[in-house]
Subunit: 245 residues, 2 copies
């Protein structure tokens, strides 16, 4: 029980539901098989069916769609506490691919166990519905990012969003965070070229707003970045649990 209380998923869901001991026990029973996956090999392929869902325990993962011309759109990154492939399990067939960007550990979740857990504690189902809703709100922001924001605003918005998400699972502060993403990841996420990504990062650094070097994102001027990006973090929902114990 100690482990489950400190797990990233519990920390994340606690933003929405004040989980009871019983609910924590149900959640713990889902955590059966911990698996290790190496970097660069897809956990889930676009178009694959009958796959498992996972809860990411450590490491970062990228989810993306490939077009028939081979170009890649990164939809989002998953960090510890996030579900991997939950949507794919519900939708019969995966609409996207999932690739670890480093060696990761993930807990396999059997779908029948998940549905059984929902039956035992409907509040847990609601909490997971919250998590899926928050994931959708992030994809909506990425849509607005590409559709309506310029390159500097996109970059600032994206790195601020990651900061808030990582803070919710104890992996960042308003000073910054460790970030394993390359310029290619950023390019495929933000619809920019790698060269453009480098230029934008240099401009943000020269303006004294942000430094991204040697795998570290440092917020040199957090409030300035928020203003530049028009970043309103309410969609990430940090207002405290809606469902009390």
């Amino acid at each position: 029980m100690r482990t489950i209380k400190n797990s990233p998923l519990t920390r994340k869901l606690s933003n929405f539901v004040a989980l009871t001991e019983v609910e924590l026990a149900v959640l713990a029973r889902l955590h059966k098989r911990r698996r290790t996956f190496e970097a660069g090999r897809d956990l889930v392929h676009q178009g694959q069916s009958e796959q498992a869902a996972y809860i990411l325990a450590s490491g970062w993962v990228c989810s993306y769609k490939t077009q028939t011309d081979g170009s890649r759109q990164i939809v989002d990154f998953q960090i510890p506490g996030d579900f991997l492939g939950l949507r794919s399990v519900l939708l019969h067939t995966s609409d996207h691919s999932i690739e670890p960007i480093m060696e990761i550990q993930a807990i396999e979740v059997v779908v029948d166990d998940l549905l059984e857990a929902f039956a035992q504690t409907p509040r847990l189902a609601t909490a997971i519905l919250w998590a899926v809703s928050r994931d959708e709100a992030m994809v909506v922001e990425h849509l607005v990012n590409i559709g309506r924001r310029d390159a500097g605003e996109r970059m600032a918005h994206f790195l601020l969003e990651l900061g808030v998400r990582l803070t919710q699972v104890g992996m960042a502060t308003k000073m910054g965070y460790t970030c394993p993403l390359t310029q290619y990841h950023l390019a495929d996420t933000l619809g920019l070229s790698a060269v453009h990504v480098n230029r934008v990062l240099r401009q943000l650094r020269e303006k004294g707003l942000l430094t991204f070097q040697s795998g570290q994102v440092v917020f040199d001027d957090y409030d300035g970045l928020v203003t530049l990006a028009g970043f309103d973090p309410t969609y990430l929902d940090q207002a405290g649990p809606l469902l009390k114990q």
Copy 2:
């Protein structure tokens, strides 16, 4: 009970869950207050909190985000059977605005009633989790649309997607459907100008693929459109219920 069996929401959820009589009865109890909303007035404002959720019974609705510079990105349209504002209820604060594009009828859903319904029938919670997952899959496609597809592919993909969704609630066939969207709606959805929208629609018509005139979308060559758009409808999940009775 007859009404609920034929409601667009039931038809939609039936793609995922073969609902039992008991589950239909629980769903029926959610349908308490039917309200009418006029066109053009926001049901939900971005940034609003403590709002209700709705199930759309008739008419079309558009959900969008406004940027500080006043530009608008339409995230999606809702058609009968879709939830309105469910994400906003779960996330404390609405991350987007919802506007009827014609007079609509919607059933107000009290959040406590919804959570109570989940407690009674966890399968219903799972079905709604499926619906939210499908909504997210659509937003992902819109992200890929803007990030990676050219104007003709975007338009074809978007109108094909609407066709499949409308077919699932009995409002379209592979021949086409009635569509109240204007060129301004299409422009704000696809990241194009209204002039560009007109040009793209003319090109699709001249190629014998699609005619969109006088509020009617006619698929002149459905398979040709699918090929052009690289449209793979598996993310809309029509494979039949995963959860049997």
